[in-house]
């Protein structure tokens, strides 16, 4: 009886499929890579060949240039490719635009590599699609019971209310440039906020890319000071990468009110440490309830945990009678604390 490890196993470069000779989200350059989504810790440049969704390939091209890999192959959600007895397909993961779970079928096993995922509605990407499997390879970024996220719209309502209460202050929202920024913008639009939203330069090309794939963001302007005066940002929403908020960059704004959209904001000490005045608990990852309910839903024979806070999830699996192991893969950082 073959083991699932003969289909997919951890290696120093990441998860490797020996019969298909490919890696999933390798952390160093390899000959053949399957990329689940465009965040830099999962999607690196310099691979020989890359298989990913069209959106993920476009994101990689935007970030690394057109020659980020020797060759590329776009796979639509649900489309299957086979090679040496291994069938590979990509299914939506609901994490960011183009994000996918990699479904690997070989030797009678179905192994689902979730990549990063979430379960709640997100207007910028296709919702997660659960698949029953023998092995579910999950992330555990928020794998502690304290991470139960509130409704996005309630969090955005707090931002909208603050704009009304502090109309003279620039609301500076820290949000990771890929995914979170666009999600915050669409949430604001859904809440009826129709004013111009200003964005940091690092986000412009990604915003354009999202628009190209049909994600409407409404009126957006760069947050530059050449034409705009400091007071013009009074009461405006400015979205910037978290690192820019701590930086000199933020001085151009009027009495800025620092906000931060991230799952990490669920814990007060994290918000205080970053000197955030308006923590917005908005995450692109599954929270504890989403993680555990997803695992129950796909009902795997075995659970493998790639990265994050695996200890509590292992304990939960033990209580639920689910066979689980931590792969403790290195190299997958929550980029910039974006969560």
């Amino acid at each position: 009886m073959p083991k699932p490890e003969s289909v997919l196993c951890p290696s120093p470069a990441g998860l490797y499929c020996p019969p298909g000779d490919f890696y999933i989200d390798p952390t160093r350059p390899v000959a053949r890579a399957v990329i689940t989504h465009g965040h830099a810790d999962h999607a690196r440049s310099g691979h020989g060949a890359v298989i990913a969704t069209m959106e993920t390939l476009a994101i990689m091209a935007a970030r690394y240039g057109e020659n980020f890999a020797g060759k590329t192959e776009a796979l639509a959600y649900g489309e299957k490719v086979s090679r040496s007895g291994v069938e590979l397909s990509l299914l939506p993961a609901g994490h960011i635009l183009g994000s996918a779970q990699a479904v690997v079928r070989a030797k009678g096993f179905t192994i689902v590599v979730s990549g990063d995922y979430k379960r709640r509605r997100d207007l910028t990407c296709v919702p997660f699609e659960p698949v029953g499997c023998d092995v579910f390879v999950t992330e555990a970024t928020f794998g502690i019971p304290v991470f139960n996220f509130p409704e996005d719209r309630d969090e955005i309502a707090r931002l909208v209310k603050s704009l009304a209460q502090f109309p003279e202050r620039t609301h500076l929202v820290g949000a990771y440039a890929l995914g979170k920024a666009q999600r915050v913008i669409t949430l604001l639009r859904a809440a009826g906020y129709d004013r111009t939203i200003f964005v940091h330069g690092a986000m412009e090309s990604l915003n354009a890319l999202y628009a190209r794939f049909g994600v409407g963001l409404g009126p957006i302007e760069p947050a530059t000071v050449e034409k705009t005066k400091k007071k013009d940002f009074a009461g405006a929403v400015v979205i910037a990468p978290p690192s820019a908020i701590d930086d000199r960059w933020s001085r151009r704004f009027n009495d800025p009110l620092p906000a931060f959209a991230s799952g990490w904001m669920r814990v007060r000490a994290r918000a205080r440490q970053r000197q955030v005045e308006l923590p917005l608990v908005i995450s692109d990852h599954a929270d504890w309830n989403e993680l555990t309910s997803t695992i129950k839903q796909v009902a795997p024979g075995e659970l493998w945990i790639t990265h994050g806070n695996e200890e509590a999830l292992l304990r939960w699996s033990e209580l639920e009678g689910i066979k689980a192991r931590a792969l403790s893969l290195v190299g997958y950082e929550d980029e910039g604390g974006g969560g």
Partner: protein, 534 residues
């Protein structure tokens, strides 16, 4: 509960005073009675519960979830109330979230055993923020950085009245303060402040500008007395109703039961609360042993006996003296204190002087004894009536020059609001000998004002260019014998402190001057500070 929880949540993360005021003002305006009144009571310290002990809360959560999963969660968060708020495994079918007033009603009549059951039901019905607010309220510590005074200021802003008006009626009002809100919303007349022993808004002094003001004022129009270094209080005994108030109207009687016993007069005195031993003033450090305590035990009272040095007389029996000139009030005060003959109340003596120059000499060289411990001088116009607030002209304070030392910048932290892009909060240190016999810096204080915007930019650049390490929002700045930025730091006094590694704590430290010119090695030694200890 939801609005209360959201308010607490935002207050906890809003560092600026003005921001907190806006949040509270808007809440009071938008929230109906009686919810806002109970919130006001919670914010001003008028509600205290110890209905739920941490051990009980822990037991309740562990009955619902795996102990190991809870332990992992608690380790991660570090705060019990917050952890429970986040992980609470709510049972389905809970009632709607309770209003704050329902919680308070239920608590006021429930037994301890009932409280525990109620609490579980409330935790089931609330969301994470609501649970956090509830647990903070029930375990007796909101800790959202709001003083009673600030909450009253927000109330004043909401109603468009002066805060002194709120203070004046405050002690005749009770939660949930419906009459107070009715008045602030102009739905009814101002409540009567008639209660005996109520607080009268305090008159404060402007700082004098010695270079400009003396030219405009005649020395003969003013009385001078020492500005004693304690806390300003108002002591009332009206028809046996004894009260002791801070200058912002907080009732501090419980902390000074020994003093309340000696308010053997009928009237209201304005004075300075001090530790008085045998008629002599002790240092502010001694007084601090008695401050910020809810109660005082016999040992503490015996060790640091509190007294009042009287400045002014506001009520003499039923007679309101506040509209009389200071000259007349003073005369009555002297007779009043003498007649009371309380062992814990004495008179702040007037300091005669003929000219401003003579007064300047007294300030620079106070006579030995109590005046040497004073903060400076007070000037009061002989004809000044007692008016609430800080009017310009009738009263001046003239503090002694601050102490100055040269210290080296060690750590810097980012500021808030307008300063959020700048490193504007500084920890500085002085030299001492370390275990190896080398000269090492030891932190002695923190300051975040005293410099201009231009200087802030320069310091910020220095911090960024010379960062050697980071801990969260704090940067460690390069500082050694041969390199470092020297601040001339001004401060009002120095005390021994067991909480600080250096063993000293400064009062009101601020950056007086940047000494770019001064080599770090020439900054002061800890020994110099130790000599200044009071």
């Amino acid at each position: 509960m939801r609005a209360f929880a959201s308010l607490l949540d935002r207050l906890a993360f809003t560092p600026q005073r003005n921001g907190k005021l806006v949040l509270m003002r808007d809440y009071m305006r938008d929230t109906p009675d009686p919810e806002r009144g109970w919130t006001l009571a919670a914010l001003t310290g008028g509600l205290s519960f110890d209905a739920a002990k941490p051990a009980f809360i822990r037991k309740a959560v562990e009955a619902r979830m795996d102990a190991q999963l809870f332990a992992l969660s608690y380790d991660y968060v570090g705060d019990l109330a917050e952890t429970v708020a986040l992980v609470w495994p709510a049972r389905p079918g809970a009632n709607r979230e309770p209003e704050l007033s329902e919680v308070i009603d239920a608590l006021s009549s429930a037994t301890r055993a009932q409280v525990q059951k109620l609490l579980e039901g409330w935790l089931d019905a609330a969301d994470a923020d609501g649970r956090w607010a509830l647990l903070k309220l029930l375990t007796g510590g909101l800790r959202v950085g709001v003083s009673a005074r600030l909450a009253k200021q927000a109330l004043a802003d909401m109603g468009g009245v002066a805060v002194a008006e709120i203070e004046e009626v405050w002690h005749s009002q009770h939660p949930p303060y419906e009459d107070l809100f009715a008045w602030l919303e102009k739905r009814s007349a101002k409540p009567v402040a008639g209660a005996s022993g109520r607080f009268r808004p305090v008159m404060l002094a402007q700082a004098i500008d010695a270079e400009k003001d003396f030219a405009n004022y005649d020395a003969a129009d003013y009385a001078a007395e020492w500005k004693w270094d304690g806390i300003r209080v108002q002591a009332a005994n009206e028809g046996g109703e004894k009260r002791l108030y801070s200058r912002t109207g907080d009732d501090i009687g419980k902390s000074f039961p020994d003093l309340l016993d000696f308010l053997n007069f009928d009237g209201v005195i304005d004075g300075e609360l001090l530790v008085l031993r045998g008629g002599k003033v002790e240092s502010f450090g001694d007084l601090q042993q008695r401050l910020n305590r809810k109660t005082a035990d016999a040992k503490l009272i015996a060790q640091f006996p509190a007294g009042i040095r009287a400045y002014d007389l506001l009520m003499e029996g039923d007679a309101d003296l506040r509209a009389l000139p200071f000259r007349e009030r003073r005369k009555r005060l002297e007779a009043f204190v003498a007649a009371a003959a309380s062992p814990r109340i004495d008179l702040s003596p007037l300091q005669p002087f003929a000219s401003w120059d003579e007064l300047a000499r007294l300030r620079a060289h106070p006579p030995a004894g109590d005046p040497a411990l004073a903060e400076g001088l007070m000037l009061k116009r002989w004809d000044s009536i007692y008016e609430a607030g800080r009017p310009k002209g009738p009263w001046f304070k003239w503090k002694r020059d601050p102490h100055l030392i040269d210290a080296v910048l060690m750590y810097a932290q980012r500021g808030h609001g307008k300063r959020s892009g700048y490193y504007s909060d500084y920890t500085f240190g002085v030299w001492r000998e370390d275990a190896n016999g080398d000269r090492a810096l030891t932190p002695v204080g923190k300051a975040y004002f005293g410099f201009t915007d231009e200087e802030l930019k320069q310091i910020d650049k220095f911090v960024r260019d010379n960062t050697v390490d980071r801990f969260g929002p704090v940067r460690v700045v390069k500082a050694n014998r041969d390199f470092g930025l020297v601040f001339e730091v001004a401060f009002e006094g120095l005390q021994r402190s067991t909480r600080h590694k250096s063993g000293v704590a400064m009062r009101f430290p601020r950056i007086n001057r940047l000494r770019w010119d001064k080599p770090a090695r020439d900054a002061d030694e800890l020994a110099t500070l130790e000599k200044m200890l009071e």
